[in-house]
Symmetry: C2
Subunit: 245 residues, 2 copies
């Protein structure tokens, strides 16, 4: 049973402002919620259809979590999705007090606006064992429901830090920053060290001019006619190459 106040609270988490006020985000759906439970997300509440609770009772028990049963109507009212899917979780946003120093291989994103792109980049980073993604403050919010969805649970394993990238690059001048760019050196002939930052620019404007002086531009060689690659795809192709050398 969901109260009006609870429905209002859940709906409010669809907005960046309230997520930051309450330091909580929303995860929805029978695919992502178990992923988050397994990954150890700090879930404070679970609202689910009785059939979901029954099907997941072992998982809930194992993680000492109780889910509150709700009706399909209540789910529909609270959900951000057009086709709500069985379960809603309220999750604590982990606190980040200071900007951590980049170690090993990290990613930096400059004004990436598309929720799906950010989520896919975090998921792909996680595949390749990357622990930190630094985002400029004008990137899309990692706790946007669409982004949460497309990370597929990797949101719990990868730290996403919003910060001024210029300050970050200045403070860590010893760490090379490789920027994906249409006019850089070929990826295939660039030496990529085991410690470094891969910088991906915005979908429509590329890398900001203020960041360019700190970077070494690299390009994925083009053999055909496409004018560009999707930002997440470019990140994945470069990471795949980098990790193989």
């Amino acid at each position: 049973m969901l109260s009006k106040a609870q429905i209002k609270y859940i709906q409010s988490l669809q907005r960046n402002k309230y997520r930051h006020q309450y330091q909580q985000y929303l995860a929805e759906g029978a695919k992502i919620v178990p992923e988050l439970i397994i990954a150890g997300a700090k879930i404070t509440q679970l609202f689910a259809l009785p059939e979901w609770i029954e099907a997941n009772s072992a998982l809930l028990k194992q993680h000492a979590l109780a889910a509150e049963p709700i009706t399909a109507d209540e789910l529909q009212q609270a959900s951000a999705l057009s086709s709500p899917n069985q379960v809603i979780a309220l999750v604590d946003i982990p606190p980040i007090d200071t900007v951590p120093t980049p170690t090993g291989l990290s990613i930096a994103l400059d004004a990436v606006r598309d929720p799906g792109n950010l989520g896919t980049i975090v998921r792909t980073a996680d595949w390749f064992g990357i622990k930190r993604v630094y985002c400029s403050t004008d990137c899309v919010d990692i706790y946007n429901p669409k982004t949460v969805q497309s990370t597929m649970g990797s949101i719990v394993r990868v730290e996403v830090i919003y910060t001024d990238l210029e300050v970050l690059f200045k403070e860590h001048k010893q760490i090379p920053v490789f920027a994906a760019d249409m006019n850089g050196a070929s990826l295939y002939s660039t030496h990529l060290p085991s410690e470094g930052i891969l910088l991906i620019g915005s979908e429509s404007h590329g890398i900001s001019p203020s960041l360019a002086p700190y970077t070494l531009p690299i390009t994925i060689p083009r053999f055909g006619g496409a004018e560009s690659l999707n930002a997440a795809m470019a990140a994945g192709i470069i990471l795949g190459w980098w990790k193989g050398h």
Copy 2:
């Protein structure tokens, strides 16, 4: 001015059945339509807001195309998009009489269902100069409006052929088929020849058992916690590695 019959015709092209009946597809929006014009798509009709026509008059002239002016209301009625965007093009589906022999590097897709994944794979294939993508007949339709959108014009440069993949692989046994799979040899230590087929399986079920005997499974090594990679991303990472060697 759009007649009722024209609106009905345009709307019908949102459905696979009618696209195949009329051998036409729909492209919508101020970004994709100029891409298609430049790429040489066979556009039979253009319906656009007067401001789009004015802004694109040089492009239209250069390609000897006339656009019919319509109102924002008419655009809204005919459009498949929730926020229609200035222009709709009706485009002929190029005929494919026989299944072409794979040459160089090709892609095969087994039951890829997500329109965005298919579109992104075609766009990425185009970047790497791949001319042909073979789809199992249960893949999503390449002329689905969302797929058309996400190819970003590459739909004109890459031939997408729907066929029985088992028959294709049997008929061309001399061409090695590398299948992206969670349990294959490491991509990083596999010799990838300049002629071959990259097979990508469905988002939820991977490669069909009936195709497995024809393939050499390869895996993108995992260094972190993510359970899987998005299908389009896996395709792009493998292609990026393949083309660099």
